[in-house]
Symmetry: C2
Subunit: 229 residues, 2 copies
DNA sequence: AATCAATTTATTGGATCCATTGTTCTTATC
DNA sequence: GATAAGAACAATGGATCCAATAAATTGATT
């Protein structure tokens, strides 16, 4: 699955999360194939992949439709990520941090400290945090030393808001967003402390709580029952 | 994806879990297509599905190989199932059991009581428990009322020992196995009690602990580092 | 006019074909 | 004799073709 097929998957993923393909919309193979200028074959492969990822679902007997996500789905997605990354953090703490992982996490903390020392954040700083955040979570996901856990998290990272490395900002209110993100950084610091001290249960609890911050990122507190993004 | 393609997926799944296709074995599309007597097209679709499920993985650049699972992978698989079903149980308890769910769970408890009242269990009784067990877990998985959680659990149920409805018995020692299963039934009773009383945190904790009983089912305490089943 | 049936059309699933790429075997040169 | 380069081969990815099935439209009958 190289080239066209992979491109088709990521293209459709983006089209769905961007809302260009609306929830409930029926997708035909020929239609999408012509849209992307390729034959039906890679589209068929892409549809199966996206079905497994949960972004598409079979519509009755014929064709696929874009999956609709309710507010409850999104919250459960965050909770799922929370328990899985919490499990990863616990196992990481129990096994003891490697010097490499500890250094990488320390770097994330330092970078965050430097970032949030700024008095007048810009839009770029939001993206910088996004990168730091993704790095931090990435170290923990891999740091559990379990392919099974990393895979499970990856499998659940395609749903909207469920991925730790795709934060959606409200770029109109940079400093308000910046303050929200600062809380995330403080949580990272606490998780890091627990990991270093080998406190598995505490690291797990903190990661689970940390997942809920997605509700703030996405402004999901006031999210309508049916997402139409 | 009906007919041949679906059959190909389940056939390959069975061949892998049965050990007829050994871990690390390279699978070619033409080879498998001829083996199953179909063309390459449904095999290609099946390979992508099995890759997503984590049973196959790309070997370098060309071809797929059967994924090898270590003892650690299996244990992590159980833990993943534990945290996910724990999450489901907690949300179920928090939302309050529906009368339907409560009745269904009660029925599982009653059936288990009747089963384990037997003094001289037979091999069939092991299978009976397997059905009761699957029913109990199924009610909880669905009972969380979240499509997202049910999907996440389903996505993680294809790995060896990770599914709650595929228990592997040692049929040579029926009553020893029967005693192991009795412990599972007692755990079900406690989970049921917590759910009825709306004790979400306790229900979650109990479900997480309950997942580890897979280590006893599969006799994984003495499992070799590299599974070659 | 409404409903049921039949025919036609559109769409998906499977098979085959072609091209591109990775691998391997052979040969030639150092 | 070993290594590198080139050629032959095998296998995957993409496109096209054919068959089967579901949906839709039209026509006929009540």
């Amino acid at each position: 699955m190289s080239g066209v097929s992979k491109v088709a998957v990521s293209t459709l993923r983006k089209l769905i999360s961007d809302g260009h393909l609306k929830p409930g919309e029926k997708l035909g193979e020929v239609q999408v194939a012509e849209m992307l200028g390729v034959s039906r074959t890679p589209i068929r492969l892409a549809f199966r992949t996206l079905e497994q990822e949960g972004l598409l679902e079979k519509a009755g007997k014929q064709g696929f439709v874009v999956r609709a996500f309710s507010r409850e789905d999104v919250i459960c997605g965050l909770e799922i990520r929370g328990v899985l990354e919490g499990l990863a953090a616990r196992k990481m703490a129990e096994a003891g941090l490697t010097v490499t992982d500890k250094a990488a996490l320390q770097q994330c903390i330092d970078d965050g400290d430097a970032l949030f020392a700024k008095e007048h954040p810009t839009e770029v700083d939001l993206l910088n945090w996004s990168e730091i955040n993704a790095r931090f979570h990435g170290v923990i996901v891999k740091g559990a030393g379990s392919r099974a856990i990393a895979d499970a998290i990856a499998r659940n990272s395609h749903l909207p808001f469920a991925s730790s490395d795709s934060i959606i900002f409200d770029t109109r209110h940079v400093d308000r967003e910046f303050r929200k993100l600062h809380l995330a950084h403080l949580q990272h610091q606490m998780v890091f402390q627990a990991l270093v001290m080998g406190e598995g249960a505490r690291a797990e609890m903190l990661m689970r709580e940390h997942a809920y911050i997605g509700l703030r990122y996405g402004g999901l507190f006031g999210l309508p029952e049916a997402l139409e993004s």
